[in-house]
């Protein structure tokens, strides 16, 4: 606010204050005299009401007393029969409706008659009342009045007892009258005292006995314990008007009066605000006058000050404009004004200032042009305040501020880390070096972003100011390029996971840290099972999609300390920096395998793969990265070959691993040198015990490793084209074996061979089999192929084509290891299946696990309903055999009955069995 306006305001406030003081004095005097007058008037009104109320009380009781005297004297003077007495009393009661009950007593306190307005009274209701004090008093010739009591309907009642004098004391009688006081209270409470005034009655014990709100009376309120002043109940007549808080806590004005007959106090009260309402009206009028006067006064003073203060306001505005940098300001000099000399001097000063500012602006313009054309970002900093005084657009763009925002920020505010570089350090360095050329620091952008820069600084002068000129060069692109190269060198481009190089570096750092701290770490080597089939059947793009999906799945199950890396192909590794015990590692390994086993959805197809995982622990299994990786790799291959899921490294595995590496190359030689042999495992009818066929199982009679089971080499071969050669060999040998059984007299036996997922992907397989069948003059219906559920779902479309072609040709199709996959019979119905082979895991615990029994039973029932036969694998004892037979299972394969045997021994077993059956 301008100074002239402030002065004007002060004048207005002063005038207003003087006006308030004078009116307040006048108002107070008026108020006091009005209040005195009002109190006298209200006091008179309340006293008059009080008097009227007490008169009403007298008017209520006096006729009653007269009435009672008439009744008493009539009874005393006129002899009446009992019936006449009742009639007389009824008439007496009828004339006074406030009488609720009349009783007549003899000198011995016996109730002679009793009339009630609402109750029936018989002779049996009449009582003797010797202990009635009021009655005894009346029989002595004194009138008695009881305390107020309340009826069963909470209505106030009072009992009056009047004496009836007989000729002798023995002839004395008494008349009891029960009076309902609500008649009286209604009369009193109908008294109008202003709008909200009221009357109430207090007895001589200060108990409230009548009030407009009966709840106070029923609550037995004693006013002596309230805030009502005691002087209201101390005189013998009317009290003066008193202002106090009533027992409800409201401010009231009241007058009390004493009723000497009933010994009651009658109080008339009116709310204070109502009593003082006329006074409040006076105050309101007074305020209205005051405000009107004040409004007029303030308006006039404002008008006067505006006229006189106008030149001074112009002068002040001129100074303010110069202060704001407007140097061309000139003020009109008013004629004959007290301010003329002052304003002329001001105009001269403004002209000088204008010239000087002009010169400075020209110099600044030149300097600004210079820095605007610079290729670097330039900022000019005030050395004293540390604030940025000037900056070019390039600097504003670099930092992300507007020019206006950047100028006037402190230099330290735009530095990313003032511990590394700050204004004080630059100043010190300039003092010694004269110039600074700094590489590799950083400034802070508008949103806090770190901007890597090089900068140089030098001192410059501008007028008297001490300034620093700082040139800043953005080096982020260069730095980003370096970082990208580093990233590419250490990460896999497909999954963005750390690659082998980074894994080795991290393992090396981790093991080095462990050697200092004594901690242990572990390395998981993970190899995906059947990934190659995905790549081969669905293409590399599908393989890539699956590999990318691996990262989020595994990351979810790893802790932040763990490092997941892709080593190439379908190989991953996990560095577990910290773990509590081996159980932790087992859990983590299971989680990883479980995550990979979950179905993948690739272009609408659901595929399922597995994983084999090897675990090596440092320092137990190695203290260098290469050593640890090798151990984990060996453990992983052990797990894969033996279908263990995961395995921990042990020294015993080393030998096998080396041999494993050479095994794959030995397969060709094995085929050539007939190192493979077939063992046959019979399928026996559970009802009849007849042999219905046999499953051909391959064995490798390895020259150095001995007899290898298929689990030890098929998984290795399965991923290569070699599996086709082996399958062809197995089918050929199985057909040949089956023909030999025919020659031995077993003409109806079937032979079953196992097919892998890769075989099912080979659409030439049906033709191959057809050729082999024809070559051996074999009945295709005696050939059976066993396929696992997982093999079918790797490429369902192609599998369906191959299986359908085989089935059409007459080859029986069986589902092997049923129950270990995730498919259902309903799903498998899309394939032409002839037989279901229940996996040994369900059969093994058949008698001990009720849920397994339920699954087997429902599988058998469902398969039969779909015209499939059921084979139980791995029946281990006679009890299981019998249970399965009872469940309706068709065939069984059991080591308990017959272990797989080579061809010659199998034929022997068959012949022996036949002979024993014949015998």
């Amino acid at each position: 606010m301008s100074a002239p306006k402030r002065i004007a305001n002060r004048i207005v406030l002063l005038v207003l204050l003087l006006e308030i003081i004078s009116i307040a004095i006048w108002g107070t005097l008026t108020y006091q005299s009005s209040q005195r007058e009002l109190v006298n008037t209200i006091g008179g009104q309340l006293s008059e009401t009080n008097f009227r109320a007490r008169t009403e009380i007298a008017n209520f009781f006096t006729p009653l007393a007269i009435h009672a005297d008439v009744i008493a004297s009539t009874i005393a003077s006129v002899p009446m029969s009992r019936e006449e007495m009742r009639s007389f009393l009824y008439r007496a009661m009828r004339t006074r409706p406030e009488i609720q009950e009349l009783s007549l007593f003899d000198a011995k306190s016996n109730e002679l008659a009793k009339m009630s307005r609402s109750e029936s009274v018989s002779d049996s209701d009449l009582r003797t009342n010797i202990n009635d004090a009021d009655l005894q008093s009346a029989l002595q010739g004194n009138r008695a009045t009881s305390l107020i009591s309340f009826s069963q309907y909470f209505e106030p009642e009072i009992r009056l007892v009047f004496p009836i004098a007989g000729k002798t004391t023995a002839d004395n009688m008494a008349l009891g009258i029960r009076v309902n006081l609500k008649w009286l209270w209604d009369i009193l409470q109908a008294q109008r005292i202003g709008t909200s005034g009221y009357v109430y009655v207090v007895d001589d014990s200060f108990n409230l006995i009548g009030h407009i709100d009966p709840s106070y009376v029923l609550a037995r309120l004693n006013v002596s314990k309230s805030s009502i002043p005691s002087e209201l109940f101390s005189g013998s007549g009317l009290s003066t008007l008193t202002q106090y808080k009533n027992f409800e806590g409201d401010e009231v004005a009241g007058v009390s009066g004493y009723d000497p007959i009933n010994h009651w106090w009658v109080v008339v009260e009116q709310p204070a605000d109502e009593v003082l309402a006329p006074l409040n009206r006076i105050i309101n009028r007074f305020l209205l006058v005051f405000i009107l006067a004040a409004t007029i006064t303030v308006s006039l003073v404002l008008l006067f000050s505006k006229i006189t203060m106008r030149p001074l306001e112009k002068f002040e505005k001129g100074i303010a404009r110069i202060a704001a940098g407007e140097s061309t300001v000139r003020i009109d000099v008013p004629a004959d004004s007290e301010l003329s000399t002052l304003i002329t001097a001001f105009n001269g000063m403004a002209e000088n200032l204008d010239d000087r500012i002009h010169e400075l602006r020209e110099a600044e313009r030149k300097y600004r042009t210079l820095i605007e054309t610079a290729s670097d970002s330039i900022i000019v900093v005030d050395e004293v305040s540390g604030r940025i005084r000037l900056a070019n657009r390039r600097a504003a763009q670099l930092l992300g501020y507007s020019m206006e925002a950047l100028v006037d920020m402190t230099f330290n505010e735009i530095l990313f880390d003032t511990n590394i570089i700050n204004l004080m350090r630059i100043d010190e360095e300039l003092k010694t070096e004269g110039f600074i050329n700094n590489h590799g620091t950083a400034v802070k952008g508008f949103d806090g972003e770190k901007i890597s820069v090089d900068f140089s600084a030098s001192r410059t002068g501008f007028g008297d100011a001490m300034l620093l000129q700082i040139a800043i060069r953005d080096v982020r692109e260069r730095q980003q390029l370096i970082e990208e190269l580093e990233y590419q060198a250490t990460h896999d481009s497909l999954t963005q996971l750390p690659n082998r190089k980074m894994l080795i570096t991290d393992i090396t750092h981790c093991l080095r840290d462990n050697s200092d701290s004594g901690k242990t770490s572990a390395l998981f080597m993970v190899d995906l099972d059947h990934f190659k089939e995905i790549n081969d059947t669905l293409g590399h793009r599908a393989g890539d999609i699956l590999l990318k999906e691996i990262r989020p799945r595994l990351t979810q199950r790893l802790s932040p300390d763990d490092l997941l890396a892709r080593l190439g192909g379908d190989e991953f590794a996990v560095l577990i920096r910290n773990f509590a015990n081996e159980k932790d590692l087992v859990n983590k390994a299971k989680h990883i395998i479980d995550a990979i086993r979950q179905p993948f959805s690739i272009d609408g197809l659901t595929v399922q793969i597995g994983a084999s995982l090897g675990v090596a622990i440092s320092p137990m299994h190695g203290i260098e990265a290469g050593e640890l990786m090798k151990c984990a790799d060996i453990a992983m291959y052990h797990a894969k070959v033996n279908r263990l899921g995961f395995a921990f490294y042990s020294k015993n595995l080393d030998r096998h691993s080396r041999e494993r590496l050479t095994m794959l190359s030995d397969v060709t030689a094995a085929l050539k040198h007939e190192q493979f042999v077939l063992h046959f495992h019979p399928k026996i009818c559970m009802k009849t015990g007849e042999v219905k066929g046999a499953e051909a199982l391959i064995r490798w009679n390895h020259p150095t490793l001995g007899l290898l089971s298929p689990n030890e080499f098929i998984p290795l071969v399965e991923v290569s084209e070699r599996i086709g050669d082996i399958t062809r060999w197995v089918i050929n040998d199985a057909i040949r074996g089956c023909n030999q059984w025919r020659n031995a007299g077993e003409e109806n036996l079937r032979v079953a061979v196992n097919l892998s997922a890769r075989n099912l992907n080979d659409e030439s397989l049906p033709k191959t089999i057809e050729k082999l069948v024809n070559a051996h003059d074999f009945d295709a219906r005696r050939l059976e192929v066993e396929i696992t559920e997982s093999a079918l779902i790797v490429n369902p479309r192609r599998s369906r084509n191959v299986v359908a072609a085989l089935h059409d040709y007459g080859v029986r199709v069986a589902i092997d290891d049923y129950g270990t996959g995730y498919s259902s019979i309903a799903y498998l119905r899309q394939f032409p299946i002839d037989e279901i082979k229940i996996d040994r895991s369900f059969v093994r615990q058949l008698s001990s696990n009720r849920s397994n029994a339920a699954i087997v039973r429902s599988t058998i029932d469902l398969a039969h309903s779909l015209d499939m036969t059921v084979v139980a694998e791995g029946v281990e004892d006679g009890e299981s055999w019998e249970t399965l037979r009872d469940l309706g299972c068709d065939f069984g394969q059991s080591y308990f009955v017959c272990k797989p045997k080579p061809q010659d021994r199998f034929v022997e077993w068959l012949l022996r069995r036949t002979e024993s059956e014949v015998a």
Binding site: Y90, P97, I212, N284, I291, S299
Partner: protein
Amino acid sequence: MIICKKLIGTLIILIGAIGCSNTAVEPKRVGIVLYGGSRTPQSDGLIDGLAELGYKKDQNILYSVLNANNDKSKLEMYAGQLIQEKVDLLVAGGGLEADAIKKIGRADAPPTVVLYVNSIVERKLVATRADPGWNVTGIDNLNAELSEKRIELVRDLLPKSKRILILYYPNIDPSRIGVDFARKAANKFQMEVVAKAVQSVEEIRAEMNNIKVNEFDAMLTVPTAPIDNALNDIILPRVKQLKLPLFTHSRSLVEAGALASYGAPFYDLGKQGARLADKVLRGVSAAKIPFETPKTFVYSVNRSELEFLGLTLTELTKSQINEYL
């Protein structure tokens, strides 16, 4: 200068506020719900009573009267409508209206004054006489309780009477309670009350038709609306046929042909209710005012019935009677 302008603005607003401060007192708004024309005497008594207490109609008090014309189903709607109109006080002409107001149980309902009701605890209109449980007060006409007194008056009117017939509805509280009080008095006077429970007009007709000549000395009614409604068509013709004296609880039934009645006049109850309404309008909580009993009871006798029955009044009875119709 801005401060000075604000000062002037404030002063002008104050002038307005003070100028408007002396507003007139708003008239009180009273909503009256009536079951039918039979409630008119109570309603008239209330309005007259309030007028005597200084409430001038359409000046300092406004009445909204809604009459359901004997359609009980409209009572709740009318009560809700009056609550909606924000009346200061709700007046129920009788027990049915009071039950309806209680049933709708609106939190924003104003205090209620009931002009004519009986058996207030038994019919669950109030929780107890001391604490009604909601903002209500009124006049309990004691119609059921007065059955005791009526037996005494029958004894005095018909000294030879020994067997008194009462028809009653066991599921109507005042009816049932009236029988209890009548029996209490009958026991005192060595009389017998024969109370026959009925449930319908047909049962009333059947019971009346079953009465034999001289089987009963008198018949007493207890407050039961369905029996009152059957008086003209069923009960009165039959008692005339049997020459059976009929003592009732309502003056209007004597006007219709019954021999006698003892009870509170409806108009007086309305005037008495005006006192309660005044208290409530002056700010006393209705819930704190216990239900009152009637100030007056009137014993009315039908002179032509006296003659028809050939009865001669004793001096005692004459002393009891307030009016002859």
